[in-house]
Amino acid sequence: MSNHDDEKDVAGRADEFLQVFKKGAEFTQDLLKENERLRFRVVQLEETLKEKGHEVVVESPDAIELQKKIEALEHEKQEILGQIKQVEEENQNFANRYIEIEEENNMLANLYIASYQLHSTLDFKEVLQIILEIVINLIGAEEFAILLLDEKTNRLEPVASEGVATSELPSIAVGEGIIGEAVNSGENYFIDSMEGYQRDFEKPIVCIPLKIKEHVIGVIAIYTLLTQKDEFTNVDYELFTLLAGHAATAVFSSRLYSDSERKLSTIQGFIDLLTK
């Protein structure tokens, strides 16, 4: 081989080496770019996981300890929320109970005053007036009457009324109709439905026998209620029970007292005549 051929061979090899080196450099560049792209992709994925609430699993002891604390706090939070809910429910129950007690308290106060008023006098007319006031103001009746039993005739005679003239009301025989039957049974009567009811003095919507123990001395017959009163409440039923007993004793004792006063006055008149 000549020197010229040798030089040519070296130049070709150098050229070949340069080509390989150039390709290697290009490949390295590609690898670096790919590495950069993948690192960027990892960061992107970590951020996406964080955004979606997934924890990036970190295995360090501190991280595990923190994780446990977070779980314990979460549990405690749930327990406290449960307790708050329970306390709120209890509060609501107490509030409802308070309203119920208030209503009962008011009802008892009304019953106390009604009973106190009934026994505050021995004047027969005043007692009748108090019964009328109780039935108007506490029950809300518009037209009603008090009928007392005349034991001689065995008939109920109207003695006081509201909304209708007492003279318009009929006397009723014991056992006759709703009112007369209430005297026999001694049971309160309430109409089944007030729909389409037309006032009828022999067919009241409510009839309450006035009783001393089991002895009926008269009745309260209610024919109509005030326009704003469309139904009876629990207080009304309590009042009816109170009226049945207390009004009866008040009426009975005041009538006895009035009779005895009248007799005493007559006897006193005789004594005065005899002694003069």
């Binding site: 209503e103 008011n106 106060a109 005053i113 006031e133 108007i136 103001n137 809300g140 009163k229």
Partner: protein, 124 residues
């Protein structure tokens, strides 16, 4: 102690007792009773009241007349008036409110309703 003076005008002693008994549950209320409108006016002129509760149907002078006269008195032009009555018709309510009543409560008596209304008007 609120120290409010309240006048209750009502001809029925039973009803008066019921209202007074209810109002006594609000601490510090001084309650004065009147039998009818005329008695009510007499008491209103003798001392200053902060609240008036009145019935409508009363002898001598009814509640509506009383409301009207009270509203014409400069001393009582802003005093709250509550009407408590058996009259449940809308026109009765409107008439009472037009004459100057602040609230209109119908019977049968509802203690809770009366107390709520009084507390609202007097801010107690």
């Amino acid at each position: 102690m609120t120290g409010y003076k309240v006048l209750v005008v009502e001809d029925s002693p039973t009803m008066r007792q019921l209202i007074v008994f209810a109002l006594k549950r609000i601490r510090g209320f001084q309650i004065v009773e009147a039998n009818d409108g005329v008695d009510g006016l007499k008491k209103l002129s003798a001392e200053k009241f902060d609240l008036i509760l009145t019935d409508i149907n009363m002898p001598i002078m009814d509640g509506l007349k009383l409301v009207s006269m009270v509203r014409n008195d400069p001393n009582y032009k802003d005093t709250p008036i509550i009407v408590i009555t058996t009259e449940g018709a809308i026109e009765d309510r409107e008439r009472a409110l037009a004459l100057g009543a602040n609230e209109y409560i119908t019977k049968p008596i509802q203690t809770m309703k009366i107390l709520e209304t009084v507390k609202k008007l007097m801010s107690v």
